[in-house]
Amino acid sequence: MLAEKLHVVGQSVARRDGLGHVTGKTVYVDDINFKDMLHLKMVRSPVPHAMVKGIDFTRAERVPGYVRAFTHKDVPKNIYTILCLIGVGPDEEPVLAVDRVLYQGEPIAAIVAETEEAAIEAVSKVNLELEELPAVFDVEEALQPGAPILKPWGANYFIYEGHHCRRVRFGDVEKAFQEADFIVEDKYQTTPIEHAPTETTGCVARPEPDGRITVYTNTQALFFTLDNTALILQIPFQKLHFVGGTVGGGFGGKVDVIVEPIATLAAMRTNRPVKYVFSRQEEMQCSSSRAAWRMYFKDGVMKDGRIIARQITSYSDSGAYNRHSPYAVTKHAANVAGPYRIPNVWIDAYCVYTNRQPASAMRGFGVTPASFAIEMQMDKIAQVVSLDPWAIRFINAYRNGDMKPHRKIVEDATLIEVMQAAAKMVGHELPEKFSRMSSWDGKEN
């Protein structure tokens, strides 16, 4: 295993930020306050799908401390998609809704006020004129003819280079199904999950004397957020200075570039520092979640337990907008066949839009649901062929040198070794053929 002798790598040295954390001296975004700071709160859609016919700020303007409101007209490049930075498009999410909202909690207008209470009260006094539309919440219903269409390109799915879905084609599954002793099928479903970091998403944008804006943020990705903010506000990149690095829990929930653009815009227009921090309710109900996935597996299996074909159709419930989902679906397609050597694989993975809050990145996204489905399916196959759950995995485990369905040669496989170690931990004695197996034993099986 490890040959090299190292001095400090490999040692459990104390955390660099530990003393700050235990004394409470670590500064997080919400701990930053400026004397002349304004607070931003969002007017949000109360319904999952509607046309926005009108917004009336008259009563909000009368709230003492009200400063001003922002609508889509104030945002220079209102329609964006954050992954444009890695070439994903087209732009499709408004910073502030234009004439239609696609999920409950979607931002329609931003209000800044002298105090947070005043901002909250002013938001409650905004009159929205909405015309509700039928909503779609189920990924397969969303793909049926007659479903409400949510995207300007006339479909409820992301288009991957002309295809309705991300595809993987490896070998010939249909032929292998014919040869298989058993066909094992099932449907797996996961659910939208909240990141639930103890610190909610937020930032403070502050105009500087030199005309630049400093944005203190708990984003997980500093430059990514800066770049998107500049693009949305159509300002030169050098006008922005982002400071962060200390985050009270992320789990993928803080890479969406949601608070920074509007807070920066408000700071530029008012020439005062602006704080925009999600309430817990906003974090739970309006911010992005882990996507719910529906996955259909069909495997061709031989009597000895070898899986010779795997066909998967997956649907990511990406909610109303892209965020990171088109990327997640590709990552899913690359991994959903599992750490097993299966010579024939066919995958269709759909990125589907529905009228719920957008899904986005979360710890292991695309793969966490895949691992759930793959391993449940392995367990089912073991029962069908009457093998124990260890045997089915050893028999099919991938090796270094194998080619994966996405045609990459496996280099760092150690599935066999972790299974051997786990069996040892729980006192499960493996048959010799499995205890002697190695991820480096090449093509023999």
């Binding site: 955390r15 409470g24 670590t26 997080y28 103890t198 817990r280």
Partner: protein, 165 residues
């Protein structure tokens, strides 16, 4: 609307604050006085990150109007290091890696202190019961439980190291 002057003892120091009606202790600590160790994880009473001690009892500063603590003694995490030395709980949280993002840490340590103040040698179950109102998404709680156990052992072994108010 009349703002009031509220006087209370904060970490052994007398403070006067001017507060609008129904301003929470949390807002006063964090925004008026700059004591930001006390966090605002939910402001619904659901996460425990804003826990402080009021006359030695853990309370949620997000649910407590500051006028309610007039004349009382409030201890925040900052109050545990008044002499510049770490409290045994702070030492053990640091040593046991009972922290990841650090956002729940102030509440955990404050509640841990309240527990050890009345029960210097709690068993594991008593520690667990004391922590059920404090949310942590990162650690899985076990390192926090261990840190409190370790601090209680330390208090047995080094009685002179008892610190803080």
């Amino acid at each position: 609307m009349t703002a009031k002057i509220v006087t209370f003892k904060l970490n052994s120091r007398l403070v006067d604050v001017v507060a609008k009606p129904l301003t929470t202790l949390q807002t006063v600590l964090r925004e008026h006085l700059g004591y930001t160790a006390t966090k605002a994880g939910c402001r619904q009473g659901g996460c425990g990150s804003c826990s402080v001690l009021v006359n030695g009892e853990p309370m949620l500063s997000c649910l407590l109007p500051v006028e309610d603590v007039e004349g009382m003694e409030v201890t925040t995490l900052e109050g545990l290091t008044l002499d510049g030395q770490l409290h045994p709980l702070q030492e053990s949280f640091f040593e046991e890696f009972a922290i990841q993002c650090g956002y729940c840490t102030p509440g955990m340590i404050v509640v841990g202190k309240a527990l050890l103040d009345r029960n210097p040698h709690p068993d594991r179950h008593e520690i667990v019961l004391a922590l059920t109102g404090n949310y942590c998404r990162c650690t899985g709680y076990e390192p926090i439980i261990r840190a409190i156990q370790k601090a209680s052992m330390r208090a047995i072994n080094e009685p002179s190291s008892e610190k803080g108010s």
